[in-house]
C-alpha cells in the first residue's frame, strides 16, 4: 500500500501569537514549531497501516526549509521517505494544488492529513485535493480500517458519527482517536537521518487570495466576580447587564 501523509509545520498549541513588519508577518520569536496535532494522528495511522499491510509511507510538506526538523521527526516516527515542496504558500488552494501534483505523479492508495491545520484552521485542503484528483475525500475521520481495496471509516458528523465504506484511493482528513500519537525511538531517530528527503520546486498556480495583514482580538475586560453566596444573581446580570440572555 502506498500512503502519502501531508503534514503542516505550525506553532505549538500554547504559542502566544503576535505580528511584526507592520502586522504583515507572524512574530516567530520564541515560537516552537511542531507537526500539526491532527497531522500527527494521520501519520501515526499511516505508519500502522504500512506495518499491517506492507508498502511505504511518504511524508509531504508544502513549505520552507524551517520545517525540515519536523519532517525528520515524521521519518523517525516511521515514514520511509519525504518530499518538501519548497515555497512560502499563500493559501489552501495553492497548497492543495502542490499536493495534487505530487499525488498525480506517484499515485497513492491513501492520502492522509489532519482535519485542519492549527494555524489557519481552514479544513479545506483535503476536499480541494480530492476534487483536483477526482477521488472522494472524507473528514473528520476518527477510525480507519482497510480490507482489500476498501476503506471503512467512522467520521464525525454534526452531533454524532457515521460509518461508511468506500473504495480506494481516498483523501482523508483525520482526527483523534484514529490512532495514538507516536514518539520516535532512538533507532527511528538514527535511521531518519539517512532517509531520503526530496526537495522540489512548486508548480505554478494562479493567485486566488493574497494576504494583506493580521490583527489581534481586542483585549478582554476584567472578570466580574460574584460571591458564591449570591450565585443566583448571575442569571439577572446576564439578562440586564451583559444582555445575552
Amino acid at each position: 500500500m502506498k500512503i502519502l501523509v501531508c503534514i503542516t509545520n505550525v506553532p505549538d498549541t500554547t504559542a502566544k501569537i503576535s505580528f511584526t513588519d507592520n502586522d504583515t508577518k507572524l512574530n516567530k520569536n520564541g515560537i516552537q514549531y511542531i507537526i500539526g496535532p491532527y497531522d500527527d494522528y494521520a501519520l501515526a495511522r499511516g505508519v500502522e497501516l504500512k506495518e499491517q499491510f506492507g508498502g511505504a509511507v511518504t511524508v509531504l510538506h508544502v513549505g520552507g526549509a524551517e520545517a525540515d526538523p519536523q519532517i525528520r521527526k515524521a521519518l523517525a516516527i516511521g515514514a520511509d521517505d519525504a518530499i518538501r515542496v519548497n515555497c512560502d504558500p499563500l493559501d489552501s488552494y495553492f497548497v492543495a494544488s502542490q499536493i495534487a501534483h505530487i499525488a498525480r505523479e506517484n499515485s497513492y492508495d491513501l492520502i492522509l492529513m489532519g482535519r485542519e491545520s492549527i494555524d489557519f484552521n481552514s479544513g479545506v485542503v483535503h476536499g480541494l485535493v480530492g476534487e483536483m484528483l477526482g477521488i472522494p475525500s472524507y473528514s473528520p475521520v476518527m477510525k480507519l480500517d482497510i480490507e482489500g481495496s476498501t476503506a471503512t471509516i467512522a467520521r464525525e458528523i454534526d452531533g454524532g458519527k457515521e460509518t461508511l465504506s468506500a473504495p480506494l484511493p481516498l483523501v482523508l482528513g483525520c482526527q483523534e482517536p484514529i490512532s495514538e500519537w507516536k514518539i520516535p525511538n532512538m533507532r527511528g531517530i538514527m535511521t531518519a537521518r539517512t532517509k531520503p528527503l526530496l526537495v522540489v520546486e512548486p508548480v505554478s498556480v494562479d493567485d486566488m487570495t493574497v494576504p494583506e495583514k493580521y490583527s489581534l482580538p481586542a483585549p478582554k475586560g476584567a472578570c466580574k466576580m460574584i460571591p458564591a453566596s449570591e450565585a443566583e444573581t448571575l442569571i439577572k446580570l446576564l439578562q440586564t447587564e451583559a444582555k445575552v440572555l
Partner: protein, 324 residues
C-alpha cells in the same frame, strides 16, 4: 448575477447557522446589486424553504432528489457548482461546519474559485474584495484579498448580527432545481449513523454549559444537565473529560475538538488550559465557576464565581427557572 447561498437542512428545516449565511449573502447582494439565491438539497417542505425570504433571499433552488437526502459532500459540491454556473454566481456563501467546509472545498476546485474559510465579518468591496477571518484557533485574524473571479466564503457563527425582530415579511420563491447527479459521487456505502437528535448541536447553540474534571465524575453530571435544560442550553466538556469517557467525544470543546461561538458559555470545573480557551474564545460572554480562584480561565471570563460547583449549579438552575 446572484450571490448563491448553500444551506444545510436538518429535519426539513434550514439550520440556524445557514439562516445567518442567507442574511450574510443578502447583505452582499444588496451591496453589489444582485439577487440572493439559496440552494437547498434534500427533503424539505416548500413552506419551510420560503422562510429564506425573511432573511433576505429572493429565490430558493431546491434539488429534492432522494439521493441527496443523506449528507454527501461530493454530490452536494457537484450540485452547488452546477447551480453557480447556471446562476452565473460569482460569490458563494456557506456556513462553517464539517459539511460546509467539505462542500466549499470541492466546489472551489471545480469552479477554480478562491476559498476563504472562517470568515468573521462582511467583506469590504471597493474595487478589491477583502475578507477577514479567524486564524490560530481564534487567537488572531487575517485579512486577505480574493483575486479569483468566483469567490467562496465559509462564514463563522456570528459573522453577521441577525435581529430576529427585524426580519423581512416577504417569502422567497421556491423553484425546483434539476441537478445532474454522477455515479462517482455515490461510491461510498453509508453504514451506521449515530446521531443524538434530541440534543442541541454545539455549533448552533446560543448557550452552552460545559463541564471539566472539577465535576468529579460522569455520575455527577446531573446538576449541569439541569442548568442546561433550564436555560435551553447545549452541553459540552473539556478534553480530559472526553478522554476519560465521562462524556461522548462529540461534546469535546477545544483546540482539537469543536470550536464554539455561543452568546453565553458557562464553564463548570474547567481550569481553562490554553487549548480549551482556543475552542471557546468566539463566545460573547464567558462565565467561569471554579473552586480554585487561581484557575487561568478567570482571566478569559466576563463573570466568575469561586466556589463549589455542586452548590452553585442548583442555585443557578433555580434562578433560570424563575426567569421563565
Amino acid at each position: 448575477m446572484s450571490v448563491l447561498i448553500f444551506v444545510e437542512i436538518d429535519n426539513g428545516t434550514i439550520k440556524k447557522t445557514s439562516l445567518e449565511a442567507i442574511a450574510y449573502g443578502a447583505k452582499i447582494a444588496e451591496k453589489t446589486g444582485g439577487n440572493a439565491t439559496v440552494l437547498a438539497l434534500g427533503a424539505a417542505d416548500a413552506t419551510e424553504l420560503e422562510k429564506a425570504g425573511f432573511y433576505g433571499a429572493n429565490r430558493v433552488l431546491h434539488a429534492s432528489d432522494a439521493k441527496l437526502a443523506h449528507e454527501n459532500s461530493l454530490a452536494y459540491a457537484d450540485v452547488l457548482a452546477q447551480a453557480a454556473a447556471k446562476e452565473d454566481s460569482k460569490i458563494i456563501i456557506l456556513a462553517k461546519s464539517g459539511l460546509g467546509d467539505a462542500v466549499a472545498a470541492r466546489a472551489a476546485a471545480k469552479l477554480k474559485a478562491g476559498i476563504v474559510s472562517g470568515v468573521t465579518e462582511l467583506p469590504e468591496i471597493n474595487g478589491a474584495f477583502t475578507v477577514t477571518r479567524s486564524i490560530y484557533t481564534g487567537k488572531a485574524f487575517a485579512t486577505a484579498e480574493i483575486k479569483s473571479d468566483v469567490k467562496i466564503l465559509v462564514i463563522k457563527k456570528n459573522a453577521i448580527e441577525v435581529d430576529e425582530s427585524q426580519l423581512s415579511t416577504s417569502t422567497a420563491i421556491v423553484e425546483a432545481f434539476a441537478a445532474a447527479l454522477r455515479d462517482s459521487d455515490f461510491t461510498a456505502t453509508v453504514g451506521q449513523v449515530e446521531k443524538a437528535s434530541s440534543e442541541l448541536s454545539l455549533t448552533e447553540a446560543d448557550i452552552i454549559v460545559s463541564g471539566g474534571r472539577g465535576m468529579k465524575g460522569p455520575e455527577h453530571w446531573q446538576p449541569l444537565l439541569d442548568l442546561a435544560s433550564a436555560l435551553g442550553a447545549a452541553t459540552g466538556c473539556s478534553k480530559p473529560v472526553s478522554d476519560l469517557d465521562w462524556r461522548p467525544h462529540h461534546e469535546h470543546i477545544g483546540q482539537t475538538g469543536i470550536k464554539v461561538a455561543p452568546n453565553i458559555y458557562i464553564a463548570c470545573g474547567i481550569s481553562g488550559a490554553i487549548q480549551h480557551l482556543a475552542g471557546v474564545n468566539g463566545s460573547k460572554c464567558i462565565v467561569v465557576i471554579n473552586k480554585d480562584p487561581e484557575a487561568p480561565f478567570f482571566k478569559a471570563a466576563d463573570y466568575g464565581i469561586v466556589g463549589d460547583v455542586f452548590e452553585i449549579l442548583p442555585k443557578l438552575t433555580q434562578a433560570a427557572k424563575n426567569l421563565k
